[in-house]
């Protein structure tokens, strides 16, 4: 058994404890911990898996298993895979290069997920809705000013709650730039997922 980092879809509607949002492919008896990407249907988790379970998960088209050696540099092929996978969620990933280790990439991405989890709570408190941010017409190219008012306000409030620096955010800042900045800032903090420090 070894703690393994995975990006997986979310199962469950979240409408009741009997149908809670939970990570796909993580069956009963597997220890895991993770962070959801706000109300988006994705989770970044660490799960305690057997080699056979890792192999099974690697075979799933909609899951991404991250290497166990976090301090290795990404290869060119891995950069392409990571960028393609993250951008589809969508999570900004154009900054991922072969000059970065897996640890650096994971810490920044985990930071974005953590931010979005807090954003989701604040967004519901403000609007009473649980609509994902990335709905019809909203993608990473959207500028801060073009976002709905409650989304803009909640992004600002979330940054303040997490004591993030948002002084560089202006009307033309895109969601891509915003989330990347958040990931970089969150990566400066101690981060744990499941029983792993990353």
């Amino acid at each position: 058994m070894a703690w393994t980092l995975c990006l997986v879809p979310v199962l469950g509607t979240g409408s009741a404890t009997t149908d809670a949002r939970r990570p796909k492919y993580v069956t009963a008896g597997i220890k895991w911990g993770g962070t959801d990407y706000g109300f988006e249907p994705w989770m970044l988790i660490a799960a305690d898996l057997t080699p056979a379970q890792v192999t099974s998960l690697q075979a799933q088209a909609d899951a991404m298993v991250l290497p166990s050696t976090l301090d290795a540099l990404l290869t060119a092929g891995q950069v392409t895979t990571v960028q393609t996978t993250l951008e589809a969620l969508p999570v900004p990933a154009e900054w991922v290069t072969t000059a970065l280790t897996w640890r650096t990439v994971i810490r920044a991405v985990l930071g974005m997920f953590r931010f979005m989890a807090v954003f989701a709570r604040r967004f519901f408190q403000m609007t009473g809705t649980t609509t994902p941010v990335f709905t019809t017409g909203v993608d990473l190219t959207r500028t801060f000013l073009s976002l709905p008012g409650p989304v803009r306000q909640t992004l600002s409030d979330t940054a303040d709650e997490l004591r993030l620096d948002r002084t560089g955010v202006i009307s033309t800042t895109t969601l891509r730039q915003l989330l990347k900045s958040i990931g970089l800032q969150m990566a400066q903090r101690p981060l744990a997922i499941g029983e792993m420090g990353v």
Binding site: T18, R121, F123, F124, Q125, T130, R163, A187, R189
Partner: protein, 195 residues
């Protein structure tokens, strides 16, 4: 961890909110809790209530209750609740115990389940340090979830799923964990810079 509020539910059978003089408020989108034989039961799936008036800390608190009877879903204790539909739930059943996060009615499981609950045991949910959620069984920590920062404040409360399980003798108070300095929470430890 001094107790700041408690309830043994020694009322006539009926609706919890009414017979206990509005001590608890039902979460707006969930089922009611009722009192039966001096214990609390649910009236359907995911019945939740938050204490109406809370003078304790909203950021360092615990919620604890005794399991009267259990089934697969069971009873639960909650912290950091609002009166609408947000909070952390430590649910104890006769099959396992597990944490959930409720954010705006969207329920997300947190981590993997621990061992089954035991009737007459006391179950406690608390935020050990900012971001580390803990569930305990008779004083023994069973689940520890680091890195859970989605919900940071609120009031304690309780949960019962369905009509079979029963919850008794609720108590809540402050969890007196000193707040670490910001530099300890957010030290600069990045060794690589993203270009």
């Amino acid at each position: 961890m001094p107790a700041l509020d408690n309830d043994a539910f020694t009322y006539a059978d009926g609706v919890l909110e009414t017979v206990s003089a509005a001590k608890f408020t039902k979460l707006s989108t969930h089922n009611s809790l009722t009192v039966s034989s001096n214990a609390v039961t649910g009236t359907g799936a995911d019945a939740m209530a938050v204490v109406t008036s809370w003078a304790g800390s909203t950021t360092a608190q615990y919620s604890e209750a005794v399991a009267g009877a259990l089934d697969a879903n069971g009873i639960g204790v909650m912290i950091f609740m609002d009166a609408v539909n947000t909070g952390y739930l430590y649910e104890i059943g006769d099959a396992d115990s597990v944490f959930y996060k409720h954010v705006g009615g969207v329920i997300t499981q947190l981590g993997s389940p621990a061992t089954a609950g035991v009737p007459a045991h006391a179950y406690r949910c608390y935020m050990q340090t900012p971001g580390t959620l803990v569930g305990s069984d008779n004083g023994v920590d069973k689940i520890t979830l680091p890195g859970e920062t989605s919900i940071v404040s609120g009031k304690p409360g309780l949960f019962v799923y369905g009509g079979t399980p029963r919850l008794d003798t609720w108590v809540a108070g402050d969890f007196n964990e000193p707040t670490p300095p910001l530099a300890q929470i957010y030290p600069y430890d990045v060794v690589q810079k993203i270009g």
